[in-house]
Amino acid sequence: MKVFYYLLASLIFIQSCKKADPVIPVQQELITTIIFELIPQNGGPSVTMSFQDLDGDGGLQPTITGGVLAANTAYFGKLTLLNESALPVDSTNKDILEENLAHQFFFKASNGLDLSVIYDDFDDNNQPIGLSNTVETGVPSSGKLTVTLRHEPNKSGTGVSTGDITNAGGETDIEVDFDVQIK
């Protein structure tokens, strides 16, 4: 019986009761930052809106910067997705372009905000992606512009290719609201 005790005791104490330091995983897939750069097609000051949440889900609240756009103006829109928790800073744009069939952005202006977005880039099946786009503003107004990125959407669903998210399905990778004013 004693032998058994010793065996047991040694077994337990061979294992330290202090857990070793974990290896911190490299969070390659994380998207911390989305930058929406808008350059007027006929010259003028460009506008940059952004959403930044460096510590990922939970923790600190994200920093969101909206934008003030000129009325009745067409802008070249360019979306940049970054993982700023990685060093060097990693761009998610290349993942999206590589898997272009499995990604699509959707843009929705809240009621009252007079703004529309047109796709300028297309996937291998000639369906829209949305990293490059044209933003056209109308009369002065204000509201929210919601930018959504869907992973594995049904791109052939009714209205999806024209930017209607209703039948897109898929999994949401990004859903951020920007406060927009049109002056």
Binding site: Q15, C17, T172, E175
Partner: protein, 783 residues
């Protein structure tokens, strides 16, 4: 010539430990052997194990003569003109489990066989065989045939046959048991006496046990539960293989189950032999099930692949020492409904409105893609029993477990093959227990236990882990005393656990620092009970006070749970839960015609740990998520379980089961979540006459009704609780002889009317209907 009488008592439960406990060989006289004359007589009687009444017209089949004999209406049989020989006997009776026995006939012999009649009347002493495993509190057991018949399913699905047990599901493939409102961390599951170690904290983590290994599965409540390691506030579920049968020949079993829904194939085989040097048994199981189907569509990506293996060795070293080794390996890959992979609340709300889940494919496939789980669980158990005196026995146990769990999500950038969660857990457990039987029949069991857990996240995921790395060390002592005093049975016991946790957490701050925490918890449990028993009535009363320390997920989880779209945050300030539970049980038996079992319980839990929804959602790049933080409250759970078994006319039996339960968060005056709604089962079983070669025929029609869970506020769930439902199941059982060997079969149809329904306790209900009609065929060949 003088005659030798031999009385052999045997049960029909395929449990050799029981058989040999109840096996009495009484040599009344001796005689000289005149074997060559072939004029020996085998006489005997077939009796009902639970009621001690004769079983009329039972059949006794002698394998060496390939001939069957029938008993008379008093279960008495006499077979003459036998030669001295050894033979296997098969004893069968309508609605009984057929029993095989090995008999050496050298002289005129008299035998009494005790057959197991029907499961509701199963005698605890016979099931558990041993003192210290019987308790004052009602414990319910599922027997061998039912386990084998339904082992294409999960353990929790099989347990649902017991009144008061429900299953918490993630689709049809993943389920864990809920007993009297307790689940997850609050109940312990013991595989062959060893607390199943694994990441049991997740509601989508099913216990990694192959039910085929079990001879019987029981739900044990009461004092004897104190002997088991496990942080339990409620019941203990025992999955137990039986001892290897004392049979010198090689014997085995082959089971095959086909299921039409999911075109599933389950194959299981086991072989065993009792040799002087070593008794051994090997069991192996293979399962392959494809996409299941709801009545209107395929449940895409709900297939399952499983390969399990177990080995058991027993050796009686001398009259004092006995050693056993048990090894098991459980390996599975499970698909999770593709349409339940969602990113945020918008997706979830959209999923609710769909008539069929997103990503539903029009065709069936066996392929399993992300989201999926891959689980490997290895167990080794060594036990040695030392009978150092007539009254005392020491039991030494060591067990080691290794649990590797990987969960795969649909990920971006070709990462779907990299797990999103990858955990390795190993456990060492040691137990020394002393059994002592007093002169007055009292029984004292005392023991000490040490349990070491080491849980490590694999950084391959590229995701900050949901559960931190940790080491847990638990040291325990326990003791309980039982006294069987004629009609009364008393018991009382106590247990103390010291739980130490050493946790290393990766902080969620920008710099990702490593933070260290230690916890020390002291858990005390006390339990006592009394039972009165006579021919018609069994009444028991049991009271228990138990403490449960918070588990790692309750203290430290941080992250999004896939498929539920909420942020779950641990709370490392949590205190131990304190539970007081009073249970009373009444069993009434009338003449084997009527059997009533009632169980009522009231449980008060102080500092009940639960997920409290927060007012402010958390804003993330994927949108806003509801936040749940672990918190404590005063909770109360009360309920009743009822079983009525009635034989109104011969060969026909009606069985009704009911479970009612209410759980309240008493501090906030709101209901508890995930409490099983009221459920009822009514089944009729009709034994039929033999049809040609088909013997022991019976049909069973079963109706299961689950009511809507009304005891929940609308803001406690993402969606209103689903409507109640009723489903019908049909079963036909039979057996026949194939070249002198017994083949059992069962044809089953579940959800006979192919009804669309969703179950409150199934987390897949947000996305899809439950499984539709399913035919299955079970074949069992014994050799």
């Amino acid at each position: 010539m003088r005659e030798e009488k031999r009385i052999l008592k045997s049960t029909l439960m395929c449990k050799s430990n029981k058989i040999f406990l109840t096996l009495f060989l009484i040599f009344l006289s001796c005689s000289k052997l005149f074997a060559q004359e072939c004029n020996l007589t085998l006489k005997g009687q077939v009796m009902d194990e639970s009621t001690n009444t004769p079983l009329s017209f039972a059949t006794i089949f002698l394998e060496n003569k390939e001939k069957g004999f029938s008993a008379d209406e008093n279960g008495v049989f006499e077979i003459n003109k036998l030669c001295a020989d050894s033979t296997h006997l098969r004893i069968s009776h309508i609605s009984c489990e057929t029993q095989t026995e090995y008999l050496v006939i050298k002289r005129d012999t008299t035998v009494v066989f005790f057959l197991h009649h029907h499961e509701e009347l199963m005698n605890e002493v016979i099931v558990h065989g041993d003192k210290g495993e019987v308790s004052t509190q009602t414990s319910v057991t599922i027997d061998h045939d039912l386990i084998q018949k339904s082992s294409n399913k999960n353990l929790a699905d099989i347990l649902e046959n017991i009144a008061g047990v429900s299953a918490l599901r993630t689709g049809s493939g993943i389920s864990k048991p809920i007993v009297d409102g307790m689940y997850g961390n609050r109940i312990a599951i013991l595989n062959n006496g060893i607390a199943q170690a694994g990441q049991q904290w997740g509601n989508d983590h099913a216990p990694e046990i192959d039910p085929f290994v079990a001879d019987h599965i029981s739900v044990v409540k009461g004092v004897s539960a104190l002997a088991y390691n496990g942080n339990s506030l409620g019941a203990i579920i025992l999955v137990e293989p039986d001892d290897i049968k004392k049979e010198p020949h090689l014997h085995g079993n082959i089971n095959y189950i086909f299921q039409s829904n999911g075109l599933g194939n389950t194959l299981n085989g086991s072989v065993q032999q009792d040799k002087k040097l070593l008794s051994w048994r090997f069991t192996g199981t293979l399962k392959g099930i494809g996409d299941l189907r709801a009545p209107d569509y395929f449940l895409t990506n709900t297939g399952k692949k499983e390969a399990d293996f177990a080995a058991q060795f027993e050796r009686k070293i001398n009259t004092q020492w006995k050693a056993k080794i048990f090894l098991s390996s459980f390996n599975t890959r499970l698909g999770i409904l593709k349409g339940s992979q969602i990113g945020n609340l918008t997706d979830l709300n959209q999923a609710f409105t769909r008539s069929e889940p997103f990503y539903t494919e029009p065709n069936f496939t066996y392929k399993i893609e992300s989201p999926a789980q891959q689980v490997n669980h290895q167990l080794v158990k060594l036990t040695a029993d030392y009978n150092y005196s007539k009254e005392s026995k020491l039991e030494f146990t060591y067990s080691g477990q290794l649990n590797a769990r990987k969960e795969f999500d649909v990920r971006r950038g070709g990462r779907s093959n990299i797990p999103a969660l990858s955990l390795n857990q190993y456990t060492h457990f040691g137990d020394v227990a002393n059994n002592y039987t007093f002169k007055n029949g009292g029984f004292l069991k005392s023991g000490i236990q040490v349990n070491y857990v080491n849980n490590t996240n694999n950084p391959e995921t590229g995701i900050l882990p949901l559960i931190p790395d940790y080491i847990g060390l638990k040291s325990s002592v326990y003791s309980f005393y039982q006294l069987d005093n004629n009609k009364f049975f008393y018991e009382a016991g106590a247990r103390y656990d010291h739980q130490y946790l050493n946790v290393v957490e990766i902080s969620r701050t920008l710099a990702n620092t490593i933070d260290r925490f230690t916890h020390n918890f002291n858990n005390y449990s006390f339990s006592s009970g009394i039972k009165y028993q006579n021919k018609y009535l069994k009444w028991s009363l049991n009271a228990g006070y138990a403490l449960r320390s918070p588990e790692i997920n309750e203290l430290y989880s941080f992250g999004l749970h896939q498929g539920v779209s909420s942020l779950e945050i641990g709370n490392n300030q949590l205190q131990t839960e304190k539970s007081l539970k009073i249970t009373t049980g009444i069993d009434l038996t009338f003449n084997n015609k009527l059997f009533v079992q009632f169980l009522g319980y009231i449980q008060e839990i102080n500092d009940y740990i639960f997920l409290r929804p927060q007012l402010e959602p958390q804003l993330t790049i994927r949108g806003a998520f509801p936040v749940f933080i672990y918190d404590q409250t005063k909770a109360g759970i009360e309920g009743i379980d009822l079983l009525v078994s009635l034989e109104p006319v011969k060969k026909f039996r009606l069985i009704g089961k009911m479970a009612l339960l209410k759980g309240e968060n008493k501090s906030d005056n709101i209901p508890l979540v995930y409490m099983p709604p009221a459920n009822f089962t009514l089944s009729g079983n009709l034994a039929l006459a033999d049809l040609g070669i088909l013997k022991s025929n019976s049909i069973n029609l079963n109706m299961k009704t689950v009511a809507k869970q009304r005891n929940l506020l609308p803001d406690q769930d993402f969606l209103a609780t689903p409507a109640g439902y009723t489903i019908l199941n049909f079963n036909y059982d039979s057996q026949f002889s194939l070249k002198g060997k017994l083949v059992k079969m069962s044809l089953k149809c579940e959800n006979l009317l192919n009804k669309n329904y969703r179950d409150y306790l199934d987390r897949q209900r947000y996305y899809a209907d439950a499984m539709g009609i399913n035919f299955s065929l079970w074949l069992n060949y014994k050799f």
